[in-house]
C-alpha cells in the first residue's frame, strides 16, 4: 500500500475540449514521440510491422457515436482523448505494493518510479479509466507524466514548457494549467464552459476536466429566420424592377 499526500500544492492537469477535438490523433503521436525519447523506458511496439501489432501509448483517442433522443435528430460523433487524469484520490497509487506509484506533493502529478515498479499491474486494474499500460518490452507500468520533464524544463523556451500533447494540438482543444487555482486560465475555462469530471461516481476526484460539446444542430428554425428571405418580387419581371429601384438608392 502506498499513501497519497493529504493535499498537493498545485493541481496540474489538462482541460480537454470535446467541442473542438476533431479526433486527429496528433496528441497521441506527439506523446508517443516525446515519451519514447524521454522519461523512463521507451514506449515499445510489438509486431510493429505484422499482425496483432500493439504498442504502449500514454494517451489514446476514442470515438463514440451519440444518438439524441429527439425524433429525427441526427447522430453525433464525439472524439474523446483519454490519458491519466491525475486524480486527487488516485486508486492506482494506494494499490501499489512497492511505492512505485506516487502522487507528487508539489503539483499533484501521478508518476511511476520505474526502478521500483515490479510490473504487477495492480495499478492498471485499480484505475477505472484504463489509463495505464504495462510496457511489454520493459515490463514496467507506463502512464502520462504530464510531461514532467517538459513543464519545468529550463532547457526549453518558456512557451514550450507544456505537455507535448498540448503544444501540438492543432485545434487548440487541449489546455494545461493549475486546476487548484480558481483564477488560472484553465479553472476559468472550466467555470465558463461547465467542465466535467470523468465518471465522478468513482470518487477518484480527477484533476483533468472535460469541456462538454456545445449543443449541435440547433440552428434557428426557418420561420424565425424567414424575414431574411422575404421575396422582393414574385415574378422575374418584378425582380428587375426591384433591382432598378435598389440600384438607384445605392
Amino acid at each position: 500500500m502506498t499513501t497519497l499526500p493529504a493535499q498537493t500544492d498545485k493541481k496540474l492537469g489538462l482541460v480537454i475540449d470535446l467541442d473542438t477535438c476533431v479526433g486527429c490523433h496528433a496528441c497521441v503521436i506527439s506523446c508517443k514521440g516525446w515519451n519514447t525519447e524521454n522519461y523512463g523506458a521507451p514506449l515499445s511496439d510489438q509486431n510493429a510491422y505484422g499482425a496483432d501489432n500493439s504498442g504502449t501509448f500514454l494517451n489514446r483517442v476514442h470515438s463514440f457515436e451519440v444518438q439524441p433522443q429527439a425524433p429525427d435528430a441526427a447522430a453525433q460523433l464525439i472524439h474523446f482523448p483519454k490519458s491519466c487524469l491525475h486524480c486527487e484520490d488516485a486508486p492506482c497509487v494506494t494499490v501499489c505494493p512497492t511505492g512505485a506509484s506516487y502522487k507528487r506533493v508539489e503539483d499533484g502529478i501521478v508518476l511511476v518510479n520505474e526502478s521500483d515498479c515490479i510490473g504487477c499491474g495492480l495499478c492498471a486494474w485499480a484505475c477505472p479509466y484504463g489509463a495505464r499500460e504495462l510496457d511489454q518490452a520493459e515490463d514496467v507500468m507506463k502512464k502520462c507524466t504530464l510531461c514532467v520533464d517538459r513543464i519545468y524544463n529550463e532547457n526549453l523556451p518558456e512557451e514550450d514548457r507544456q505537455p507535448a500533447c498540448v503544444r501540438t494540438c492543432p485545434a487548440g482543444a487541449r489546455h494545461f494549467g493549475d486546476l487548484g487555482d480558481p483564477d488560472s486560465d484553465v479553472s476559468q475555462l472550466v467555470a465558463e464552459r461547465g467542465g466535467m469530471d470523468l465518471m465522478p461516481e468513482q470518487g477518484t476526484k480527477p484533476v483533468n476536466k472535460y469541456l462538454p460539446p456545445r449543443p449541435k444542430d440547433a440552428m434557428p428554425e426557418f420561420d424565425v429566420l424567414a424575414p431574411f428571405l422575404e421575396p422582393v418580387a414574385q415574378e422575374p419581371k418584378g425582380f428587375l424592377g426591384w433591382l432598378d429601384k435598389t440600384l438607384e438608392k445605392l
Binding site: E159, D160, R167
Partner: protein
C-alpha cells in the same frame, strides 16, 4: 514521504534542425531534434512543429509527429533495382547508380532524338512540379502532368476560371473575423493543420460552423450543424440557396457591380458566331453601361459605376448584362427548395434556414475595418466592409462528374454574398489572386531533339487552345485539353496507363513515374491496371515497353517497374516549396520554404530531383547542360539557388541579391540556402496593411505583387460569374469556328459547358437503379494515403478499414458489426468487413482510403491486417463508365476537366459469409527490401 528526485530539466537534444514536413501537402515547419547516436552520428530523436512557421505556428498533426518512423521505416528502398523476374513478381537485382542511369539514358536518348512524345513522365504526389515540368519541357515530351487530374482539378480550375484562385493553397477563410464558416465535402486532409487551427479559433469565439458532408467525422463531427447531403447533389443545394438569396434580394449589389462581370453586356446575336460572348471594345476590354452617364464604356475607366440592370440596344437587338441572365436562370422554380429537397436529402425549410442564416450573417453582422484603400478605377475608399461568411471545400465536391460546375456554383454563392477578398470572408494567398488569363496556356508542340514549345499545363480560353494535332487527334497521351475534357488544366494521370496500353491516341515507349502508386491505390480499376502493366504483345514484349519508377519506399508500384531509382526520405533531401509551384503563403504574406538534408542517407539513394539534374545532363537537355556539355546543376540544391525562371526570379523568393537583402526579385545569392536554414527553413514577406484585402482590385496590392515578382504588371480583373471560355466551346459545338468537336460530343458540350453554373446528375450513367447506394472514401487525418501503413505508430491507429454502413442499410441487410458484405458495382465486386455508423447519410457507405495493402509491399508481414482485412474501393471503380449501348465508351470523369469521378461510385450491398480474407485477394509480391523487425524499442539519446 520520500519522493524520488527527478531531473526536471533534462537536455532535450544536442541540436535542433528546422526543415519542412512532407507528410501531406500542408508542408508545415518542423523542429527536428537531433541527438548523438551510439555511432557518434547525429540521429533524429524527436520532431515537433516550428512555432515561428507561418503554416502551422508550432502545432503538428499525427503524421508529422510520426516522421521519425517514416525516416526509419524498413520499407525504405536501399539501392537502384533492375527487374530480373516478370513484371509484378518483385524480383530484382540491386545495381550501381552508374549502371542505373546509363540504362535510363539508353532508353530515353533515342526517344528524345526520334519522337519525344514517346516518353510519358507523370509525377504523382510530387512537391516540385515547377522543376519536374521544366525537366519534361527540356526533354521535349508533351506528356507530363502530376496527380491533380485524379485529385482536385475541379476545385482548382473552377476557382481560377471563376475568380482567380480556389481554396486551400490558393486562399483561406479570414479566421480572425469570420462568424459563419461553411464547409462542403470531404476536406479533412486539405489542408490539414491550418483548417484545424482555424476551426479551433473560430469555435473559441463562438462562430458557427456548418458542415455539409454525407459523413459526420472529423471537422463535420465538431460542426455546429451537420447537413448529411446526398452525395453528388451539392451543386443543386448551392443553386437552391442562390435562388433563395437572389429572390430575396440578399446580394451585395455594389460588389457585384464593381468587381464581377455581372454588369458586363452579353452579345445577343442569335445564330451568329459571337452570340453569348461578352461585349468588348477594340482593346478587348469588357463593356458595361455606366450608371452615371448611361453610356457604354469599358469596365475599368475612372469613375465608372457599372450598371447591373441597364440593357443596350443596337441594330435592333437588346443586349443584356450577365446579371439578367443569372436572374433568368436562378429565379426559376426548378431551384426552389421544395423542388430540390428530395434529391439533396435536405428538407426545404432547412435549405431556407441555411440560406437565411448566410444572409443574416453576411448583411446584418457586416462590419468595417478602418483601412483606406484605392481601387483600380482610382476610387478611394476610407473603409473596408466586412461580410463575415466564409466557405471551404476540396475533393468532396470536386471528384464528381458534375464537380467543375458545382465548384463554380459554390464560388458564385460566395461572390453574390460579396464575401470574397473582404474582411470576414475568403481571402487569397499570394501569388493568388491570378486569373486564368494570367496563367500560361497548354503547350504540346513536340520536335525531335528539342525542348517543348512551352509549359505543358495551363488554361484554355477556347477551342483554339486545345492540345490537338493537325489531324485533330489528341496531342497528349492522357487526352488532356481535347473535346472530351477541354479544360483539363492538371492533365489526366488516371488515363495514362489505359491509353498507353490501348495505343489510343498512340503507343509510348517509356513510362517514367514518380511517387505514384498506380498499380494499387492511385488507380481506378486496380486489377485492370495491373493487367495492362503486365500484358505482352504478339512479340512477347510488354505492351507498355519500359517503365522507370522512383519512390523512397517499397510501394506496390515498385514491383511493376523495370528500373527503380530509389529516392531519399524527406529529411535527407533538398526541396523548395516555391512560389512558382504550390505555395505556402498566408492571406497576409508571401512565404516559401525549403527542405535540406538534416540527416545523410544510410542507403545508396539519391533525391529524385538531384538524380534528374544528373540524368538531364547525361541526356544533354539544354536546361541541364552548360555550353561545354558539362552538368549544369550539381544537384537540386544547386538548381534551387542558381536557376532563374526570368532574370531575378528563381525558385525561392527570399534572401535574393548578392547580400541576401532582396525579396521576390533579385540576383542569385550563393548563400541563399544557408540564409533559409538560419531563418528556420522558411521566408515570409508580409503584405502591407491596406493592401491585404480586395487584392484583385486593390492598387496597393497590385503594386506590391509586381514588386515581389508575382506579376509583371498590375492586372486587375473582374470575377467571371459568366465564363466566356465555356461559351466559346458551346459556340463550337453549335457549329461555329474552324475547330469542331466530333459529332458524338456536340450535344454534351452544348449542355455541360453552360457559362453560368448548372447542376446535372450522373446517377443514371452509373446505373443507380441497380446500384442504389453511394460508396465513398476519405483519407484519415492521421495518414497520408499509402505512406502511413509502413509507419509503426500510425498503423496502430488505422491498421485495417471496415466499410461503414448507415443503420438503415445494416438493418435492411441483416448485418451486425463484424459481419462481412459483398459490395457490387457495375464494374466489380469486393467482400469486406462492415461496421455500423449512425452519423452517416442513410444511402451512403464509406471507408478509409488506401489502408488496404498488397501482400509483400511496404515491408509489412504478409499476414498484416492491411493485407488480410484491409481493402480498396478502387476495385469497384473503372476509368470508363459502364457501356450504355451506343457503342462508345465514356470516361468516368468530369466532361469539362477530365477530373476522375471517384465519388460517383454506385454499389449494392448484400450479406456474405465471412471469407478468410477480404476479396479480391492478390498473390504476394516478393519484397525487395525484406521485412521489418518484430519489435521496436529505441531511444536515441543515452
Amino acid at each position: 514521504m520520500n519522493q524520488p528526485v527527478l531531473d526536471l530539466s533534462p537536455k532535450v537534444s544536442d541540436e535542433v534542425r528546422k526543415t519542412t514536413c512532407y507528410m501531406c501537402a500542408c508542408r508545415c515547419g518542423i523542429n527536428v531534434h537531433m541527438k548523438d547516436g551510439p555511432d557518434g552520428k547525429k540521429q533524429v530523436a524527436y520532431i515537433e512543429g516550428n512555432k515561428d512557421h507561418p503554416v502551422n505556428q508550432g502545432v503538428l498533426c499525427a503524421k508529422g509527429s510520426a516522421g521519425i518512423m517514416q525516416v526509419n521505416a524498413p520499407s525504405r528502398l536501399r539501392k537502384p533495382l533492375k527487374r530480373v523476374g516478370p513484371r509484378g513478381s518483385g524480383e530484382f537485382e540491386e545495381i550501381e547508380w552508374d549502371e542505373a542511369l546509363k540504362l535510363a539514358t539508353e532508353w530515353l536518348e533515342p526517344v528524345r532524338r526520334d519522337n519525344p512524345e514517346k516518353l510519358a513522365f507523370f509525377t504523382g504526389r510530387d512537391q516540385s512540379q515547377s522543376f519536374t515540368s521544366f525537366w519534361a519541357q527540356n526533354f521535349g515530351t508533351c506528356n507530363y502532368a502530376a496527380h491533380g487530374g485524379f485529385c482536385s482539378v475541379n476545385m482548382a480550375a473552377a476557382g481560377i476560371y471563376t475568380m482567380g484562385g480556389a481554396f486551400w493553397e490558393f486562399g483561406q477563410p479570414d479566421w480572425d473575423h469570420t462568424k459563419l464558416f461553411m464547409l462542403f465535402g470531404v476536406a479533412e486532409d486539405h489542408d490539414s493543420n491550418p483548417i484545424k487551427m482555424g476551426i479551433g479559433k473560430i469555435k473559441k469565439r463562438g462562430a458557427r460552423v456548418i458542415g455539409v458532408n454525407p459523413i459526420r467525422t472529423g471537422y463535420n463531427a465538431v460542426a455546429d450543424d451537420w447537413v448529411g447531403i446526398t452525395p453528388g447533389t451539392d451543386g443543386l443545394f448551392i443553386l437552391a440557396m442562390i435562388h433563395c438569396l437572389m429572390k430575396a434580394g440578399k446580394m451585395d449589389l455594389n460588389y457585384l457591380a464593381q468587381y464581377t462581370n455581372a454588369p458586363v453586356l452579353v452579345i445577343n446575336n442569335p445564330g451568329a458566331a459571337d452570340h453569348g460572348l461578352l461585349m468588348r471594345d477594340g482593346n478587348g476590354k469588357e463593356l458595361v453601361i455606366d450608371r452615371a452617364t448611361g453610356k457604354l464604356t469599358p469596365f475599368d475607366q475612372p469613375g465608372v459605376k457599372p450598371d447591373l440592370a441597364a440593357t443596350y440596344e443596337k441594330d435592333g437587338q437588346t443586349h443584356r448584362p450577365v446579371f439578367h441572365q443569372m436572374a433568368d436562370m436562378y429565379l426559376d422554380d426548378q431551384y426552389a427548395p421544395e423542388n430540390v429537397a428530395d434529391r439533396c436529402g435536405i428538407p426545404a425549410d432547412r435549405i431556407r434556414a441555411i440560406a437565411a442564416e448566410l444572409a443574416r450573417v453576411a448583411f446584418e453582422e457586416s462590419f468595417e475595418l478602418d483601412h483606406a484603400w484605392t481601387d483600380f478605377r482610382g476610387e478611394k475608399h476610407d473603409k473596408m466592409i466586412g461580410r463575415p461568411v466564409s466557405f471551404h471545400s476540396m475533393r468532396g465536391i470536386s471528384a464528381h462528374a458534375n464537380g467543375f460546375q458545382t465548384c463554380r456554383a459554390l464560388h458564385t454563392l460566395q461572390i453574390i454574398l460579396g464575401t470574397v477578398e473582404v474582411p470576414g470572408g475568403f481571402r487569397f494567398k499570394p501569388p493568388y489572386p491570378k486569373p486564368a488569363t494570367a496563367h500560361p496556356k497548354p503547350h504540346c508542340k513536340v520536335t525531335p531533339d528539342t525542348p517543348l514549345d512551352g509549359p505543358h499545363l495551363g488554361f484554355v480560353h477556347g477551342p483554339e487552345d486545345l492540345a490537338l494535332k493537325d489531324d485533330g487527334s489528341p496531342a497528349r497521351i492522357d487526352k488532356a485539353f481535347t473535346w472530351e475534357n477541354p479544360m483539363s488544366s492538371h492533365g489526366l494521370m488516371h488515363m495514362v496507363i489505359s491509353n498507353a496500353y490501348a495505343g489510343d491516341p498512340y503507343k509510348i515507349d517509356v513510362l517514367f513515374m514518380y511517387m505514384a502508386n498506380m498499380s494499387w491505390n492511385s488507380s481506378m480499376n486496380t486489377r485492370g491496371v495491373i493487367d495492362m502493366l503486365t500484358d505482352k504483345d504478339e512479340n512477347g514484349e510488354y505492351v507498355i515497353p519500359k517503365l522507370i519508377y522512383s519512390d523512397a519506399y517499397s510501394s506496390e508500384m515498385v514491383a511493376y517497374s523495370d528500373l527503380v531509382l530509389p529516392d531519399t526520405t524527406y529529411l535527407e533531401r533538398h526541396d523548395c516549396i516555391s512560389l512558382l509551384d504550390r505555395p505556402i503563403c498566408e492571406a497576409d504574406a508571401a512565404a516559401d520554404a525549403i527542405r535540406w538534408p538534416v540527416i545523410e542517407p544510410d542507403r545508396d539513394v539519391k533525391g529524385f530531383q538531384s538524380m534528374l539534374c544528373e540524368l538531364g545532363a547525361m541526356l544533354k537537355l539544354p536546361g541541364f547542360t552548360n555550353e561545354d556539355g558539362s552538368q549544369k546543376y550539381a544537384d537540386y540544391g544547386d538548381y534551387i539557388v542558381n536557376h532563374e525562371r526570368k532574370p531575378g526570379i528563381g525558385p525561392l523568393a527570399g534572401f535574393r541579391g548578392e547580400n541576401g537583402d532582396q525579396a521576390g526579385r533579385g540576383a542569385v545569392n550563393p548563400n541563399q540556402l544557408d540564409r533559409y536554414i538560419e531563418n528556420g527553413g522558411f521566408f515570409v514577406e508580409h503584405i502591407p496593411a491596406g493592401a491585404n484585402y480586395y487584392k484583385p482590385w486593390n492598387a496597393a496590392y497590385q503594386d506590391w505583387a509586381v514588386g515581389m515578382g508575382l506579376y509583371d504588371s498590375p492586372q486587375p480583373y473582374l470575377f467571371s460569374l459568366y465564363s466566356e471560355p465555356m461559351r466559346k466551346f458551346q459556340l463550337a459545338a453549335e457549329g461555329h469556328g474552324d475547330r469542331q468537336p466530333p459529332e458524338h460530343l456536340r450535344t454534351r458540350i452544348k449542355e455541360k459547358m453552360s457559362p453560368l453554373p448548372i447542376w446535372y446528375s450522373s446517377e443514371e450513367e452509373n446505373q443507380v437503379a441497380d446500384f442504389p447506394v453511394t460508396a465513398l472514401t476519405q483519407r484519415p487525418m492521421a495518414m497520408y494515403h499509402s505512406w502511413g501503413s509502413q509507419n509503426a505508430w500510425l498503423r496502430q491507429l488505422h491498421g485495417h478499414n471496415p466499410l461503414y454502413l448507415p443503420t438503415k442499410l445494416m438493418r435492411e441487410n441483416g448485418l451486425a458489426d463484424g459481419d462481412w458484405a459483398k459490395v457490387t458495382s457495375p464494374h466489380g465486386e469486393i467482400t469486406v468487413p462492415v461496421l455500423e455508423m449512425a452519423a452517416l447519410n442513410k444511402n451512403t457507405v464509406w471507408t478509409w482510403n488506401a489502408i488496404g495493402k498488397r501482400k509483400g509491399a511496404w515491408a509489412l508481414e504478409e499476414n498484416a491486417p492491411e493485407a488480410t482485412r484491409g481493402f480498396l474501393l478502387n476495385h469497384l471503380i473503372h476509368e470508363l463508365l459502364p457501356p450504355k449501348g451506343d457503342g462508345l465508351r465514356w470516361a468516368n470523369s468530369d466532361p469539362i476537366t477530365g477530373q476522375a469521378a471517384w465519388f460517383d461510385l454506385k454499389v449494392r450491398i448484400e450479406k456474405a459469409p465471412a471469407p478468410d480474407e477480404s476479396k479480391p485477394g492478390f498473390d504476394a509480391i516478393k519484397s525487395p527490401v525484406g521485412k521489418g523487425p518484430k519489435d521496436l524499442k529505441w531511444k536515441v539519446g543515452k
